[in-house]
């Protein structure tokens, strides 16, 4: 039976197991929207295409499956660009479907024409302009394979309107021919043996785990590695949840806002077991002084990451999970004989780290009059007990989140780690909530990022999604203000938002419950109310305005240059607007 391209597309999506699309209609994708009701796929209509891509990411990040977004040609496609770039930097599997003007109009500056393939070439893992309806099934299948295999990433499929309208036969899947695309799997046994020797010979080892552990589904294997060897684990902001926060070997996040003990452990380590990480500048600080005494084991599925920033002594190319399974097997086999060799040194090492932790825990000054941001985070942790999806924006609240929130499972912490896109938190929470309607999903955002994603309150209300929007509101771009305070002599240039909507009225305008609080004694009740209310909730928490995130490694500094606490804090007077 012949069908038009739009139907074939939707059938292909179903064949790939797609149950949800986040999208926004427009001229050239109308043939798809016209056929949507013939399929089981649920479409969520967002308020801006950028948020369709972020929502698809929220779906993908919280499930590990490919998230799908859809937009029309021209402005629809260009609005996806930030979301795609974000997915590219964090290796999130997303397939974006865009409409394009009809083939005969390509390159004529037709209405709503943009060179989507050209524009998205550098922010996707791969992209396709579909030349004919006959090629559509193979391209869709390939797109999902490329997005989800190896190092995952976003793939865009651009489909001209005439292709969507042309009738053709739906074809059976043929074997893919991708001679240039190889996915490394098992690590090289010789390289693994080399790593085993390094592990047993180390006196001050640290495991440094990143987003690759979560993408590979290797949390269990990571935990086994830590427990077999007794080696403490630090994670990157992308790796949070890959190792249980409450585990005695957990060191939390390292890097620019890492704890003192964690960064000390990395600085003084003699072996860094690096798993699915890319030695980002926010992690390493000044490279010439990063873990100078450490040998490096680096496991990654992307050959281009190995030796990119730091030369590895034992590079292992492969899927982190498969490599860890083999590594752990060999470690178990050799443990009886090899573990006692360095036992004493390693006990001393863990004791040293514990002493550092005791010496410089995370701390902040409590207040009875103002809600301290950290107190807000601690209360969320206490009330959720780590059993909630938390989707954050970018800035101070994100870094406090990375320090204070506790995750005992992967895929509960959603954040824009690489690109650092403000406006990510709320739409990503929408995507996660659609995938996990039974779970409490918190969009924990700053007042700046919230205002970038505010229209999505409409989507929340529309679908009555149980997303609790908690705004950590200091009426500043908090992290920018912090940098201006610490590194730009307190020159607060264009960083304040004195006007912010009354969130009780704003929520009411969307027909959802909302509350504004500013007193510490309101905090517990307000959070409990937000979390126990069915459906969406908007909670605006007015916090101490000029609190800073500590520790902080100054930009360009080394980890050892971290600033632990405020030096006699300047008062607002004289540096802020009157």
């Amino acid at each position: 039976m012949t069908k038009i391209g739009a139907q074939i597309l939707l059938e292909c999506l179903e064949r790939e197991g797609v149950d949800v699309i986040f999208g926004y209609p427009g001229g050239v994708v109308l043939p798809i929207y016209d056929k949507l009701n013939l399929f089981k796929i649920r479409h969520y209509l967002v308020r801006h295409e950028q948020n369709a891509c972020f929502a698809a990411q929220g779906y993908a990040r919280s499930t590990g499956r490919v998230g799908v977004c859809m937009a029309t040609s021209g402005p629809g496609a260009t609005n996806l660009v930030t979301g795609l770039t974000d997915a590219y930097l964090d290796s999130i599997p997303v397939v974006a479907i865009t409409g394009q003007v009809s083939t005969h109009l390509l390159g004529t500056s037709a209405f709503q024409e943009a060179d989507t393939i050209g524009i998205t070439r550098s922010c996707t893992k791969h992209n396709y302009l579909v030349p004919s309806v006959e090629e559509l099934p193979a391209i869709i299948h390939e797109a999902f394979y490329v997005a989800s295999s190896g190092r995952p990433g976003p793939v865009l499929v651009d489909i001209p309107k005439d292709v969507l309208l042309k009738a053709a036969e739906m074809t059976e899947l043929k074997e893919m021919k991708l001679p240039g695309y190889q996915v490394p799997e098992q690590g090289d046994p010789a390289e693994i043996r080399q790593a085993i020797a390094l592990i047993w010979n180390a006196e001050r080892p640290v495991i440094y785990a990143g987003g690759g552990v979560i993408h590979a589904g290797a949390s269990k294997e990571l935990r086994e590695l830590a427990e077999i060897t007794g080696i403490p684990v630090t994670t990157t902001v992308m790796g949070l949840g890959g190792f249980p926060s409450v585990h005695p070997l957990s060191l939390g996040m390292l890097g620019m806002h890492g704890r003192f003990a964690t960064n000390q452990a990395v600085i003084q380590s003699d072996l860094l077991i690096s798993l699915g990480v890319r030695f980002d500048d926010r992690v390493t600080g000044a490279l010439d002084r990063f873990a100078k005494g450490a040998k490096i084991i680096h496991v990654d599925i992307d050959p281009a990451e190995i030796n990119k920033i730091v030369k590895a002594d034992a590079p292992i190319l492969g899927d982190v999970k498969r490599v860890l399974v083999e590594l752990n097997r060999q470690l178990r086999e050799t443990s009886k004989e090899s573990a006692p060799k360095k036992q004493q040194a390693r006990d001393a090492w863990r004791a040293q780290i514990a002493a550092w932790q005791k010496e410089h825990p995370l701390k902040y000054e409590q207040s009875k009059t103002e809600i301290m941001p950290q107190a807000l985070l601690e209360e969320i942790v206490r009330l959720t007990q780590g059993d909630a999806i938390i989707s954050v924006d970018v800035g101070q609240h994100q870094m406090w989140g990375a320090q204070y929130f506790q995750f005992n499972e992967p895929r509960l912490w959603l954040n824009s780690g690489g690109l650092g896109s403000m406006g990510f938190g709320l739409p990503a929470a929408i995507g996660a909530s659609v995938a996990h309607p039974e779970k409490t999903t918190i969009a924990f955002v700053g007042d700046g990022g919230f205002q970038m994603s505010l229209p999505e309150l409409g989507t929340l209300a529309n679908y009555n999604l149980p997303v609790k929007v908690v705004i950590m509101n200091n009426q500043y771009l908090g992290m920018v203000r912090q940098w201006q305070e610490l590194f730009y002599q307190g020159n607060y240039s264009e960083v304040e938002f004195p006007i912010f909507p009354d969130c009780e009225k704003l929520a009411a305008a969307y027909g959802i419950p909302g509350k504004v609080i500013d007193k510490p004694n309101q905090l517990t009740d307000a959070l409990k109310k937000a979390f126990s209310t069915k459906g969406p909730y908007l909670l605006d928490v007015r916090v101490a305005r000029e609190e800073n995130v500590y520790p902080i490694v100054p930009s360009g500094g080394a980890l050892e240059d971290m600033i632990l606490e405020p030096k006699a804090k300047l008062t607002s007077a004289g540096k802020s607007k009157p």
């Binding site: 393939i117 050209g118 070439r121 992209n127 001679p179 240039g180 050959p303 281009a304 030796n307």
Partner: protein, 169 residues
């Protein structure tokens, strides 16, 4: 100092743009680029010449190029033995009294006369880039030149699979 990278790619729409994008996004300017069908149908061989790219940068560039879905193989030719060749067509107007000298010189440098319409001549030169440059320079004394060069082609010497090495380095 020039460095060369050889690529074997699937001949798919946009593949050249993806490759050149990989160079430009890392701040490298392409000095020459040749692209034509390779031994198997559907495959194209590309040779790219760049300047000022150190070994670490080249290793990273090759790995990133290999990540492009349609790139089957990328080899840093600076790291292997190779045979470089380039073709040039040089058109020149030669004064009547110089014509005998000119034709003798063309023979002496191993060039071929491919068009002769006195006073205009076109000669074809084949060789490695440096030799070509020298020979082209030597023709200048006979008149004003128009030069079309193909850019470098290269073939890896011997049978060793250079690809494996480039991935592991």
């Amino acid at each position: 100092m020039m460095q060369a990278i050889s690529l074997l790619v699937e001949n798919k729409p946009g593949v050249l743009a993806r490759i050149t994008g990989m160079f430009t996004s890392r701040g490298f300017n392409i000095e020459s680029l040749t692209m034509a069908p390779a031994e198997e149908p559907g495959l194209t061989r590309i040779t790219v010449l760049i300047a000022g790219c150190n070994e670490n940068q080249r290793v990273q560039l090759v790995k990133q190029l290999e990540k492009i879905v349609h790139v089957v193989e990328a080899v840093d030719l600076s790291a292997v033995k190779m045979v470089p060749r380039e073709l040039a067509l040089v058109k020149i107007d030669v004064a009547a009294e110089q014509q005998i000298n000119f034709l003798n010189h063309v023979n002496a440098i191993g060039a071929h006369l491919v068009e002769s319409a006195p006073p205009s001549y076109t000669v074809e030169l084949v060789g490695d880039g440096d030799t070509l440059s020298e020979h082209i320079s030597s023709l200048k004394k006979f008149g004003k030149l128009k030069v079309a060069r193909s850019g470098m082609l290269a073939m890896v010497q011997g049978q060793k699979d250079a690809k494996v090495e480039s991935v592991k380095s």
